[in-house]
C-alpha cells in the first residue's frame, strides 16, 4: 500500500507514491536524487543524515517521508545561495573542518540549527550543540573553530 506525498526539497516540488515505512533520508536520496545527505548508521546516532525540515534540523533517518508531507526540506545541496556558499560552508572550508567529508553535510546542517537557536555560542555550547553528530576524522576541533567563525561572520553580516 503506497501513499502519496508532496515534499519540497531545496525549493523543488516532488510528488511521489511511497511506502509508509520509507525514511526521509532514503526518499531524498533515492527519489529526490540528492545524495549529499548521508546515512552513517541505523540507530539514529551519527547525525550524517541531518537536514532541515521547515527550517528546523532533523535526522532524516528517523523521520518518515510521510511525516514530511507538505514540508519544505533543505539539504546540503540547497544551503548555498546560487554560487555563493553559506557562511558555514565557507568557514568549514577555511578552517579545515572536514577531512573525508562524510559527516560534513549533516554536521553543517546541525551547526546551522545551533546558530539559529544561539547566534553567538561559546566553544562549550558549540561542542554541546554538536554532540549528536559524529565525526571520526577531525577530532571536532576545526569544526568548533568553523562554527565559531561562521557565527561571527553571520553576526557581522546582520549588522
Amino acid at each position: 500500500m503506497k501513499v502519496p506525498v508532496r515534499i519540497t526539497v531545496n525549493g523543488r516540488r516532488f510528488e511521489h507514491e511511497v511506502e509508509p515505512r520509507l525514511l526521509l533520508a532514503h526518499y531524498i536520496r533515492d527519489l529526490g536524487g540528492l545524495t549529499g545527505t548521508k546515512v552513517g548508521c541505523d540507530t539514529s546516532q551519527c547525525g550524517s543524515c541531518t537536514v532541515l525540515i521547515d527550517g528546523v534540523s532533523a535526522k532524516s533517518c528517523t523521520t518518515l517521508a510521510v511525516q514530511a508531507d507538505g514540508a519544505n526540506v533543505t539539504t546540503i545541496e540547497g544551503l548555498a545561495d546560487g554560487d555563493a556558499l553559506h557562511p558555514l560552508q565557507e568557514s568549514f572550508w577555511d578552517r579545515h573542518g572536514l577531512q573525508c567529508g562524510f559527516c560534513t553535510p549533516g554536521m553543517i546542517l546541525a551547526a546551522y540549527e545551533l546558530l539559529r537557536t544561539n547566534a553567538s555560542p561559546s566553544d562549550a555550547e558549540i561542542r554541546h550543540g554538536l554532540e549528536g553528530n559524529l565525526c571520526r576524522c577531525t577530532g571536532y576541533q576545526n569544526i568548533v573553530r568553523a562554527v565559531r567563525d561562521a557565527a561571527a561572520q553571520m553576526a557581522a553580516a546582520d549588522q
Partner: protein, 793 residues
C-alpha cells in the same frame, strides 16, 4: 607561484565538492538496470550449518536471485591472505567468501539476496531459513590459545594441522642476553611487570563499506567501485578471487569516507557482489549497514600482553621482555599477520636505548571479527608498552616520568641510528622534543600544582608519551623479506598540457587526508606553476599508474616523493628545451620559481609555460629530445621514515564518580617539513582523539556465546565533541635525510601517542588513591570500582 607554496596553509581543493554535497561516494552511484544485494550474516559466533532453504526468499517480491556457498564454491576462490609472515609457522585457514559448512564469526556470509531495491533485498533475508548447530565459541585470544579451548580450524590451506588455534608464532630478539639482563635486575636492580589489555576496537569510518560491480558479458570487462584505501591491491586480489583477468578489471575508489585501516582488506562481500553482477549481467550494488559494519568490517588491536622491563636502580633500562597473544579473529584478513609483528615488535625499542629485548607474539584464531590494521596498526600497541613501563619505573624509583625518559633516550641523530631490533631510524631528537614539550606546557609547574593535592575530590594527573613510529612503508626489498605480497613503492605521471596546465596521475589513494591539495602544492613548489593549474587524478586503476595504497602514513611520504621526482625530471627536460629556445648552452642555464634563464641575465628567460607549449607543439626542439612534456617516476624508498614526538595529557579524575575528564592535551609532533601545516594539524587532531577514544571510551565487548554486545553506535562509545578539550598542537621539524622532500608522514602519529598519554595521566591521578592499573577503556565504572577496591584493601 613560488616555492613558498610548500608549507603554506592553502584551503583544500577537495572541499568544495564535499561541503556542497556533490561528492560521489560508492553509495551514491546509480547505474542503469542496477539491482541491490544484501548479505545474510550468520549471527552465530561458531556453528555448523545443517540446512539452508532459499525458496521462500527467491519467491519474494522484487527478488532477482539468491545465492549460497553452493553457488560460489569453486567459482570464487578462497579469500587470500597477503602478508605471509616468514619464520613464524604461519597457518592460513581457508576463508571461503560464503560459508557452506561452518560459520566462525557472526559476520560470516551464508547467503546473498539480489533484488530490484535494497528494501526488497533486506526484507527477503528474513525469508531464508538456515538451521545451525551451535558450537562452543572463544573470543579472548589468550583463552583461545589454551589447551581445551574450542578449535576453529582443523587444517590450514596446505592441509597442515592447526592446533591450539595458533595462526603463527613470531619472535623478535635483539641485543644482549635478555635473560641475563633480567637475572641481574632481579638481583640488583628493578623489574617492572605489567599485564596490558589492548582491547579490541571498532574503526567506525563514518562511511560504511560498500561495492558496486558492473560486468560487461560481451567484453568480459568488470568495473568495481569500492570503498577501498588501495584500489590497485584490490584489483589484484579481485582478479585472484573472481578469475577476471587484471587487464579486464577496473577498480575505482570514488570518494571514500574514511578508512583508518578498515578499508585496506579485501572482503568476501565485495567479491560476492562481483559474483552476482557476473551471474546476472546487471550492475549490483551492496552497501553495508552500520550494524553489519560492526559485525563484518575488520576490527583493530586485541592484544593480551604480559610485559616486563629490567632496569638499574638509578633508572637505566637494561632489558624488555614481552609475550603477546594477538587475536586475529576467525580468519586472517589481508594484511593481518604483519600488524602485531613487523609493525609492532620491531618498534619495541621506541625512543630508547634498550640493550636487550625479546618478544614472543602468538597470533590466535578466535570467533571474533577478523582483526586488521587500525590507525597506528601495531605501533600504538608497542608505544603503550614502553610508555606504561617507563612511567611505572619512574614511580617505583620515585623519579619523575620525564626524567626516566630523558635518562634513556637515544641521543639526537640526524643521519641514521640502528636500534636493537635492527631498524635503522632516519633522524630524530627525542630529548629535544620532550624538553620543548615540557617547557611549552609548563610541565614542572603543573607538577607543583598537582602536589597541592586534590580539590573537591578531583585528582589531577599528568601523562607523557614519547614516541617514534615507522612509516613511509617502505623499501620493496624489505617488503619481500618480511613476506608482504606486494611492493611498497609508489609512482606518479606528470603531464604538462600546451597551455601549461598540469595533470598528475598518481597511484596513491587518499580518502580524507587532503593529498589532492598537498600533491598540488608539491608540484607547484617544484616547478613554479600556480597550484590551481594542477589537477590530481587518483583512485581509478584504469587511469592511474600502480600504487600500493594509502595506509601506514605512506601516501605523502612515498607518493609525494614519486611526484616530486617526476616533476624534477620535467624540470631537467624543460631546462634543455629552454636553453635551446634561448640559444644558450644547458650549462649556462639557471632555474628559479618557474623560470629558466641564462645565468647572470635573468631577462633572457623562458617560463615553464613557454617550454610546455613548445615541447607540446614541437616546432623546434633540441636534437634527440622527444616531443611532449611528461614524466613518470617509480619511487622505491631506500628506508622507512621515522616521525616522532612527545605528547602530554592532563586529566582530572573525580574520585567520587570515577569520571575522567581530559582537561588539556598538548601534542608535539615532528613529521619533517610540513607541506600544509593546517592539514598536518588536522591529522593530529583526528589521530589524537581516536587514541583518546581507546583510552577512555571505546572497546568491543562480546558475551559468553560470542555475540558482539557493542553491536551498534548506541553501545560502542565513539568520541563526541562535548567530551574533548581544545588540543594544543605544536611541532618541530627534522627532515628525513634520505627523502627527496625530507617529509615523514603524520596520519597515525596522534593515535600512536595519545592512548598511552591519557592512560598514564589517569594512572598518575589515581596514584594517591592506591590504584595502579585499570583495564581500558577507563570508564567511570571501572575507575570507580578500582578506587573502591584499592581503598577497601
Amino acid at each position: 607561484m613560488s616555492s613558498r607554496i610548500f608549507g603554506s596553509r592553502i584551503r583544500r581543493r577537495e572541499d568544495p565538492r564535499l561541503i556542497t554535497g556533490s561528492a560521489v561516494y560508492t553509495g551514491d552511484i546509480e547505474l542503469p538496470g542496477m539491482v541491490h544485494a544484501a548479505m545474510l550474516r550468520c549471527g552465530h559466533a561458531h556453528a555448523r550449518i545443517t540446512r539452508i532453504a532459499t525458496e521462500q526468499a527467491e519467491a519474494a517480491p522484487g527478488v532477482v536471485a539468491v545465492y549460497t556457498g553452493v553457488d560460489t564454491d569453486g567459482v570464487l576462490q578462497p579469500m587470500p591472505c597477503a602478508w605471509l609472515l616468514p619464520d613464524a609457522e604461519l597457518k592460513i585457514a581457508p576463508y571461503p567468501c560464503i560459508a557452506k559448512d561452518v560459520v566462525r564469526y557472526t559476520g560470516d556470509v551464508v547467503a546473498v539476496v539480489v533484488a530490484e531495491s535494497a528494501h526488497e533485498a533486506y526484507d527477503a533475508l528474513d525469508l531464508i531459513e538456515v538451521d545451525y548447530e551451535p558450537l562452543p565459541a572463544v573470543i579472548d585470544p589468550e583463552e583461545a590459545a589454551r589447551a581445551g579451548a574450542p578449535e576453529l580450524h582443523a587444517k590450514d590451506i596446505n592441509g597442515d594441522d592447526i592446533s591450539g588455534n595458533q595462526a603463527f608464532h613470531w619472535t623478535v630478539a635483539g641485543g644482549g642476553d635478555v635473560e641475563l639482563a633480567f637475572a641481574e635486575a632481579e638481583a640488583d636492580g628493578v623489574v617492572i611487570k605489567e599485564r596490558i589489555l589492548q582491547q579490541r576496537l571498532i574503526p567506525n569510518a563514518m562511511e560504511t563499506r560498500g561495492a558496486v560491480a558492473q560486468y560487461n558479458r560481451a567484453t568480459g570487462e568488470l568495473t568495481l567501485w569500492n570503498t577501498t584505501q588501495n584500489p590497485h591491491i584490490l584489483r589484484f586480489l579481485c582478479s585472484v578471487v573472481t578469475g577476471v583477468p587484471e587487464d579486464k578489471l577496473r577498480v575505482i575508489a570514488p570518494e571514500v569516507g574514511g578508512g583508518f585501516g578498515s578499508k585496506i582488506a579485501a572482503y568476501p562481500a565485495d567479491f560476492v557482489t562481483v559474483f552476482c553482477a557476473m551471474r546476472l549481467g546487471r550492475p549490483v550494488k551492496w552497501i553495508e549497514s552500520r550494524s553489519e559494519n560492526y559485525q563484518a568490517t575488520t576490527h583493530g588491536r586485541d592484544h593480551v600482553q604480559d610485559v616486563e622491563l629490567a632496569a638499574t636502580k638509578d633508572g637505566r633500562i637494561t632489558g624488555l621482555r614481552c609475550t603477546v597473544y594477538a587475536g586475529m579473529g576467525a580468519y586472517l584478513s589481508t594484511a593481518a599477520p604483519g600488524i602485531p609483528t613487523i609493525l609492532h615488535g620491531l618498534m619495541l625499542s621506541g625512543c630508547y636505548t634498550i640493550p636487550a629485548l625479546k618478544e614472543d607474539v602468538y597470533g590466535v584464531y578466535t570467533n571474533g571479527v577478523p582483526v586488521e590494521a587500525y590507525r597506528g596498526a601495531g605501533r600504538p600497541e608497542a608505544t603503550f608498552i614502553l610508555e606504561r613501563l617507563v612511567d611505572m619505573l619512574a614511580n617505583r624509583l620515585g623519579m619523575d616520568p620525564a626524567d626516566v625518559r630523558i635518562k634513556n633516550f637515544i641521543p639526537k641523530f640526524d643521519d641514521g641510528h640502528e636500534v636493537v631490533t635492527t631498524l635503522n631510524y632516519d633522524s630524530g631528537d627525542y630529548p629535544g622534543a620532550l624538553s620543548k614539550l615540557l617547557e611549552h606546557t609548563g610541565y614542572r609547574a603543573l607538577r607543583e600544582r598537582q602536589r597541592a593535592g586534590p580539590s573537591n575530590g578531583k585528582y589531577m594527573g599528568l601523562g607523557l608519551t614519547s614516541y617514534v613510529e615507522i612509516c613511509g612503508l617502505g623499501p620493496s626489498q624489505v617488503a619481500g623479506a618480511i613476506g608482504f605480497q606486494g611492493g611498497l613503492w609508489e609512482s606518479a605521471i606528470v603531464r604538462f598540457h600546451p597551455t601549461g596546465k598540469v595533470h598528475v596521475f598518481i597511484g596513491a589513494s587518499p580518502h580524507g587526508q587532503g593529498e589532492e591539495t598537498t600533491f598540488a602544492q608539491i608540484v607547484a613548489s617544484e616547478i613554479g606553476v600556480d597550484v590551481a593549474d594542477v589537477k590530481i587524478f587518483h583512485g581509478d586503476t584504469d587511469s592511474t599508474p600502480m600504487g600500493w595504497g594509502t595506509y601506514g602514513s605512506r601516501t605523502t611520504a612515498v607518493g609525494g616523493a614519486a611526484l616530486a621526482l617526476a616533476v624534477r625530471k620535467i624540470r631537467d627536460k624543460a631546462k634543455v628545451v629552454a636553453a635551446h629556445l634561448l640559444e644558450a648552452s644547458v650549462e649556462d642555464m639557471d632555474y628559479e620559481d618557474g623560470k629558466f634563464f641564462v645565468k647572470g641575465s635573468p631577462d633572457r628567460a623562458k617560463t615553464i609555460q613557454d617550454v610546455a607549449l613548445m615541447a607540446n607543439v614541437a616546432w623546434t626542439l633540441p636534437e634527440g629530445v622527444e616531443a611532449g612534456l611528461e614524466a613518470t617516476t617509480f619511487y622505491d624508498p631506500p628506508n622507512f621514515v621515522f616521525p616522532y614526538g612527545a605528547h602530554l595529557a592532563v586529566v582530572e579524575v573525580d574520585a567520587r564518580t570515577g569520571h575522567v575528564e581530559l582537561t588539556g592535551y598538548t601534542a608535539l609532533d615532528d613529521c619533517g617539513p610540513q607541506i600544509n601545516p593546517t592539514i598536518v594539524e588536522g591529522q593530529v587532531h583526528g589521530g589524537v582523539v581516536q587514541g583518546v577514544g581507546q583510552a577512555l571510551w571505546e572497546g568491543a565487548a562480546y558475551d559468553e556465546s560470542g555475540q558482539l554486545v557493542t553491536g551498534s553506535m548506541l553501545d560502542y562509545a565513539l568520541p563526541r565533541a562535548d567530551q574533548l578539550p581544545d588540543l594544543d598542537v605544536i611541532s618541530t621539524v627534522t627532515p628525513s635525510p634520505h627523502h627527496p622532500l625530507g617529509v615523514k608522514g603524520v596520519g597515525e602519529a596522534g593515535t600512536i601517542a595519545s592512548t598511552a598519554a591519557v592512560y598514564n595521566a589517569v594512572m598518575d591521578a589515581l596514584r594517591p588513591l592506591g590504584v595502579t592499573r585499570v583495564d581500558m577503556p577507563l570508564t567511570p565504572e571501572r575507575v570507580w570500582r578500582a578506587i573502591q577496591e584499592a581503598q577497601g584493601s
